[in-house]
């Protein structure tokens, strides 16, 4: 396969990416092939060394953040004008599919927002448990001072139970926060290598 054959195949497969991203990658590989040839290998050998256009493009796409691919797809659909019939159908169907898409996004977004609401309320309860635990310690000291050691012991045990809850819920809230952040990362950054 010649360099240009490889590059045009790559360009075809990278059409799901925004044009600038695809161009960057193609320039990179073009330069790489030139350098390999300068190093002494033939054009065939250089292209072989880079590998299969399928594999290379698959890897590039895997490392591209989802939102870029989604954005490009939307751009394409907006530009896609083959046939007046298709366009008319899309326009006529607008009152149907548009609210559906909006509500789909709304559902996903509100689910995500409620996740954060849960996280915030969990942290609030961590604080509440911690504060009431301190309150119990204070009461316990007071009751010990006025001589009622039984009540004092009861208050201490409540304090311990409450601080236990506080710590447990804190770690639960931390876990949920990590998960929520992971979801954001997946949409806005690639799936990683």
């Amino acid at each position: 396969m010649t360099k240009n054959e490889f590059l045009s195949e790559l360009e075809k497969k990278l059409s799901v990416l925004p044009k600038n991203d695809a161009k960057d990658h193609i320039l990179f590989y073009s330069e790489m092939i030139d350098d390999i040839m300068e190093d002494g290998k033939t054009e065939e050998e250089a292209v072989l060394e880079i590998g299969d256009a399928d594999n290379v493009s698959a890897q590039i796409i895997k490392e591209t953040p989802l939102y870029k691919i989604a954005k490009e797809k939307v751009k394409k659909v907006a530009k896609n004008n083959d046939g007046a019939v298709k366009t008319t159908l899309i326009i006529l169907g607008f009152p149907i599919w548009f609210p559906l898409i909006i509500s789909a996004f709304a559902v996903v977004f509100s689910l995500y927002v409620s996740l954060w609401a849960v996280i915030i309320s969990l942290f609030a309860s961590v604080l509440a448990f911690a504060v009431s635990s301190i309150g119990c310690v204070v009461m316990s000291v007071y009751t010990f001072i006025i001589g009622n050691s039984w009540a004092g012991i009861v208050f201490i045990s409540f304090a311990l139970i409450l601080i236990g809850f506080s710590i447990f819920i804190f770690y639960l809230a931390k876990l949920l926060t990590k998960f929520a952040i992971y979801l954001v990362k997946k949409v806005f950054m690639g799936k990683g290598e």
């Binding site: 990658h25 330069e31 790489m32 350098d35 390999i36 300068e38 590998g51 290379v56 890897q59």
Partner: protein, 105 residues
């Protein structure tokens, strides 16, 4: 090799390849390949990531009628190399421990 481990190693390897003098894509791969294998696509990702982290800068030079991209390390990049060396001093101690203990098995 573990993927995450390799990823961290490749970053510093690329930085090392441009530490003493600016270099370009294929030369970096060649310099690093005696020690660890890296594909061209992987190099692209690493260079992009290092550039975004301001550990290197990119510039183009005319070469034989075409443009060639050169990469230059920054102070942040040198710092990353030093951090790596410090971290791995400890790893080598641990390796000695593991290797020696295993001999006694």
């Amino acid at each position: 090799m573990d993927i995450q481990l390799k990823r961290g190693l490749l970053d510093v390897c690329v930085l090392t390849a441009i530490k003493n003098e600016d270099s370009y894509g294929y030369k970096i791969i060649k310099d690093v390949s005696p020690y660890i294998k890296m594909s061209e696509s992987t190099l692209y990702t690493i260079l992009k990531r290092l550039e975004e982290a301001n550990m290197l800068t990119v510039y183009s030079v005319e070469h034989g009628g075409r443009l060639r991209k050169y990469y230059r390390i920054t102070n942040a990049g040198r710092g990353r190399i030093e951090d790596f060396k410090d971290e791995w001093k400890q790893v080598m101690q641990i390796y000695k421990f593991v290797a020696e203990e295993s001999i006694n098995d």
